[in-house]
Structures are given as structure tokens and as C-alpha cells.
């Protein structure tokens, strides 16, 4: 299955602008990046695309609020609501159960990638018993993240290593309590992960310059 975030020029520019202003050392900057770059299309399925948007839009606003406020601590209800959990569970279940799509054309300008349904399936089982504020929704978002930027016929395979490293880091927290994850959002740091995020933002910046 292929998922994509359509990136018309104004939308790409806006995302790059926020991503370039991300600061801090905890995982919050990566959570915000995930919310901004979460796919809003499943290639070949309008219904799944709508479900993804239904989940992604409130997630993005929540993360924008966290970006603006830059809190010293994050509470579970600030990153996830019961309604968002229901929407995510529905969309992930639908993705796992979906029949292979037709050969629909992805958007011209987009961040696109293949979704590993086996890993999403495992995470879905964990999602169904994870408390609110858990890392699991973020691990799922990392698995959905696109890996290739397409813009005006140019492709930047720029986010593969970032997606892999981020998914590994988040999945590594799955056995911990939500409190540990909430602390990791604002404390500690992972310089290697930050460097990979900077690389991804540089590639998005290059694409934005090309699109402008």
C-alpha cells in the first residue's frame, strides 16, 4: 500500500517553515514533524484518504499548539484525545484490512512511501490495549511517514533513514509506561535522530525552492 502527503507549493512552504523552527532536544520535535508530514492520501482509496485526513487534521492542530507553547512538560490529554484514538484505530484497522488498491496516480507534488502492513498490523494489536498518551499512535504515524519527496518530476529519497530510526526509537518505548514517553517528549535527546530530521527538512526545503 502506498500513502502520500499531497504537497502543493503553499502547503510545502508552510510545513518547511514550521519544521525549520523546531527546537528542543526531546521527542516532541519529532512528534510535531510526524503530525506535519503524516500522509493525507492512500493511493487508490478515497475512503481511506478521508479517514486519514479525519485523524490527521486534529493531530496537526494539537501538535501546532505544542510547537507554539513549547511546554516544559506534556500531559497525555495534550497529545491525544479519546476521539483521536477512535479515529486512529478505525483508520489503521481499515488500512490493515484493505484490498490492494488500483493503479491510481499519486499527487504530482507529494511525500510518498510504501506502508509496511505487517508492522502496522502488529502495532494495531498494541494500540487496542494502549492507554491514552501512549507512544503507540506515534510509532504508527512513523510507519506511515513517506520516504520520498516528489516535486516537479524530481525525486528526493530523503526520509528513509529518518523514518526507520524514528520508528525504531518510538517502538523501543512501547514497553514503557506512557509517563516515560511523555517525559521523553521534553527531556533527553537523540543527536543522531535530530541530524536525520535536519537532513529531511533540508530536502523538503530544496523541494520547496524548486516548487516556488
Amino acid at each position: 500500500m502506498t500513502a502520500a502527503l499531497a504537497l502543493p507549493p503553499h502547503s510545502l512552504l508552510h510545513r518547511v517553515r514550521v519544521l525549520e523552527h523546531l527546537t528542543g532536544s526531546g521527542l516532541l520535535m519529532h512528534a510535531i514533524a510526524l503530525a506535519l508530514l503524516l500522509p493525507n492520501r492512500v493511493v487508490g482509496s478515497q475512503e481511506l484518504s478521508r479517514s486519514l485526513q479525519h485523524f490527521g487534521e486534529p493531530l496537526r492542530e494539537r501538535c501546532e499548539r505544542l510547537f507554539v507553547r513549547a511546554p516544559r512538560e506534556v500531559r497525555a490529554e495534550q497529545i491525544e484525545s479519546e476521539e483521536m484514538r477512535v479515529r486512529l484505530t478505525e483508520v489503521v484497522r481499515a488500512i490493515v484490512d484493505a484490498e490492494p488498491g488500483n493503479d491510481a496516480t499519486p499527487p504530482d507534488s507529494c511525500l510518498i512511501g510504501e506502508v509496511a502492513l505487517d508492522r502496522i498490523g502488529v502495532l494495531l494489536l498494541e494500540l487496542e490495549r494502549a492507554p491514552l498518551g501512549s507512544v503507540i499512535p506515534w510509532a504508527i504515524s512513523a510507519e506511515l511517514l513517506g520516504t520520498t519527496i516528489r516535486c516537479r518530476g524530481v525525486e528526493y529519497v530523503a526520509l528513509t533513514s529518518y523514518r526507520t530510526a524514528l520508528a525504531r526509537r518510538l517502538t523501543g518505548l512501547a514497553e514503557q509506561s506512557p509517563e516515560i514517553f511523555l517525559r521523553a517528549l521534553v527531556e533527553g535527546g537523540d543527536p543522531a535522530l535530530q541530524t536525520q530530521l535536519r537532513g529531511a527538512v533540508d530536502a523538503l526545503h530544496a523541494a520547496a525552492a524548486l516548487a516556488a
Binding site: 503553499h10 510547537f67 507553547r69 495534550q78
Partner: protein
């Protein structure tokens, strides 16, 4: 004797006056101190719902980040902030940010 009585009365009135002035000054000083920490800038609670007191520098940084986000909710917060923000320098930052986001054509359809 009447002169001494008048003097005592005058001293009493003066003491009452001075005490009242001290109380008034203390109230004003306390109000100013609160205003410096969080001069009734309730607009920041619109972002995450927390009521942490923020100084002028922190509020200015928030205004800048609202301008970076420039989504509909962020613009609504900036508009509320303009009516609520007591510090002139932060108000100026809000004005400038609102002008920029309102004239930035990419603002209008960025939720695509």
C-alpha cells in the same frame, strides 16, 4: 492646652493619612509586580489551556511562533491576544505578526 490638643489631633490625622498612603502604595506595588509577571495576559491560556504565568519575553516568543504556524486557530489566538495583551511591545509584535499572516497568500489555503 488647646494648642497641645490641636497638635496631637494634627499628628493623629497625619499618622492616619501616612498609614493609608502606605497601604495604597503597597497595593499598587503588588499589582505592578503581578502585572510584570503576568499582566492579565490570559490569551496564552487559549493555546494549551494551562495557566502558567509568562513574562514579556516568553509571550513575544509565542507570538512569533503563532506567526510561523499561521493556521486559522493561531490567527484567532493572535486576534484575541490583541485585545488582552497589556504590554505595548508584545502588542506591537502581535500587530506586526497579524499584518504578515494576513498578507501572506499562502495562509489562505494551507490546510490542503
Amino acid at each position: 492646652m488647646p494648642l497641645v490638643g490641636a497638635l496631637v489631633l494634627l499628628l493623629l490625622v497625619a499618622a492616619v493619612y501616612v498609614a493609608a498612603e502606605r497601604r495604597r502604595l503597597a497595593r499598587e506595588t503588588a499589582a505592578s509586580a503581578i502585572a510584570l509577571r503576568s499582566p492579565s495576559a490570559n490569551w496564552t491560556t487559549l493555546i494549551l489551556g494551562d495557566t502558567v504565568s509568562l513574562d514579556v519575553r516568553e509571550r513575544t516568543a509565542i507570538v512569533r511562533r503563532l506567526g510561523v504556524v499561521a493556521s486559522a486557530w493561531a490567527i484567532a489566538v493572535l486576534e484575541s491576544a490583541l485585545a488582552d495583551e497589556p504590554d505595548a511591545s508584545v502588542r506591537e509584535a502581535i500587530w506586526q505578526t497579524l499584518i504578515i499572516v494576513r498578507t501572506d497568500e499562502s495562509t489562505f489555503s494551507r490546510n490542503t
